[in-house]
Subunit: 152 residues, 2 copies
């Protein structure tokens, strides 16, 4: 059984999960501090998805940290399959949320320049960028675990 | 070597590819008939991506039809890997385009009711729905081919 760097129970996976948690939290915070997010469907959707991604990534970060400390990685194919599918579903939802947010921010900035206070809009933009970064990390986790799956 | 229904060179795969081509073309047509699409970044992005998806799906539909008629499916792992990766990249891009378009249409309809003529907006909405359907079929193709890949 090979050790795939980045798969469940390695320190690389722990870093990926911490990165996901960090970027999703940043995305959620930047979105929620401007209190007007609930007037746009795309922004509400982003907040909902980030509220799902944060506990998922944080739990898996804890599992990884535990596995690294005890030097006893989890290697049940069933659990790994659930994690791969969960990661994949969440990364798809994150991508959809991030691109919706990005396109709405772009529309608000360009077409209705006066409609969006510049301070709020730059916050929304940072939030969309953070969501994209969270998507990339989540995708990386999913691919690394998928790579490990056939060798179990 | 098992025959996975929906994988490259089967009649199910041919139907999937034809569906993708049809839905992408419908999405492109509904978007382009309202001539104002170039004023929104999200709509331009959708048109670009659909312009990539249509030739890709159509070519693979031809390959599938050829394989079915000659009863000689292509089974090189290298080619299959390229198709899986290509399908996956295109389905990700399609999802991003579809959700961007959907969120912009939603914003135009709700917040700026007077800004968007109802006839144009319902066209944009149909275009977004077609793009989502094209994403689903493209994802199905990618998963079926991925399922076949380890058995080669």
């Amino acid at each position: 059984m090979d050790e795939v760097p980045g798969s469940l129970g390695t320190s690389a996976s722990f870093s990926l999960r911490m990165g996901q948690t960090m970027f999703s939290s940043a995305s959620l915070l930047f979105m929620s501090f401007g209190v007007e997010f609930y007037s746009y469907t795309a922004f509400c959707y982003l907040v909902t998805i980030m509220g799902l991604v944060i506990p998922w990534s944080f739990t898996l970060a804890l599992v990884d940290g535990y596995s690294v400390l005890l030097k006893c990685p989890i290697r049940q194919p069933g659990i790994l399959l659930i994690i791969v599918v969960g990661d994949w579903v969440l990364s798809t939802l994150t991508l959809a949320a991030a691109s919706s947010t990005a396109s709405v921010v772009d529309l608000l900035l360009n077409t209705h320049g006066s409609f969006c206070p510049p301070k709020l809009c730059s916050r929304y933009r940072i939030s969309a960028i953070m969501a994209f970064l969270s998507w990339l990390l989540s995708l990386a986790s999913s691919l690394f675990n998928l790579w490990l799956l056939p060798s179990l």
